[in-house]
């Protein structure tokens, strides 16, 4: 519990589960949830390096806060796009969203 490798493997497993979700799901909201998991794996990596290797512990926390802000922005934009797509197609399955013309 006090080793760098433990946290790195936990983060890698979280990221791989998120990757599996993005590749396998066809529900847009499900893919968004999987992307959130991937972002969490990345920020867990930053916090682990921050705790065990970095000279200054504040920097990793700042990067993690940055990732959280980006995730919030991404969720807002993604969800509004999903709502717009749902109004147009009556579905949030990505395989139905095939046409480019309005």
């Amino acid at each position: 519990m006090n080793a760098l490798g433990t946290y790195l493997i936990i983060a890698a497993l979280l990221f791989s589960l998120g990757l599996l979700g993005v590749l396998q799901r066809r529900n847009l909201i499900g893919m968004l949830i999987a992307v959130e998991l991937m972002l969490n794996g990345a920020s867990l990596n930053f916090m682990a390096f921050n705790r065990f290797l970095a000279p200054e512990p504040a920097v990793g926390q700042i990067v993690t806060l940055f990732i959280m802000g980006l995730a919030a922005a991404e969720a807002a934009i993604g969800l509004s796009l999903i709502l717009a797509l749902f109004r147009k197609l009556r579905s949030i399955n990505v395989e139905r969203a095939q046409q480019l013309k309005g």
């Binding site: 791989s16 867990l44 916090m47 200054e56 980006l70 969720a75 147009k88 309005g102």
Partner: protein
Amino acid sequence: MSFLIGTEAIAHVAFWIVVGLTFGGAVIAVFPRNIIYNVLGLVMALSGVAGLYLYLGSFFIALMQLLIYVGAICISIVFAIMLSRPLHLEVPKRSVPKVAMAAGASAIFFAAVVGVIFKSNWVPAPEQSGDWSVVTIGHLLLTRYDLVFEVISLVLLVAIIGAIVTAGYSRRFSS
């Protein structure tokens, strides 16, 4: 002394419980076909990651994780689910080869990352300052890492305006 050993063992057990919570939540967030279960699994996994941040020594980031992810992002995902309705109607089954290929791809990725983790020699910095306080984070955010603060403010502003425009205009066009 035995008291110390006792608390250490309890901390150890609690760590693995938190890890189990994270992975259980992540599995629930990815695999079930009902989207409501996915969101609840996401909440569980994010709370578990907040617990891991506590073990990594940052109470502030754990609190922010709960506040921003669980409090804001998950709630907005629930709103989107409620607004885009017939969810239990259309869940087309995924073909097995596609799922197997996705699982293979992420397994290869995981194996590669684990290989990198074990191969590389992590060298800690020669001297680590133990300054974890929120005061330091605030000072650094407004002095040396000013750019991070400005960029995240701009990104959030653009995201808010973009979300309003996207959701609002599409309604006007389609109706």
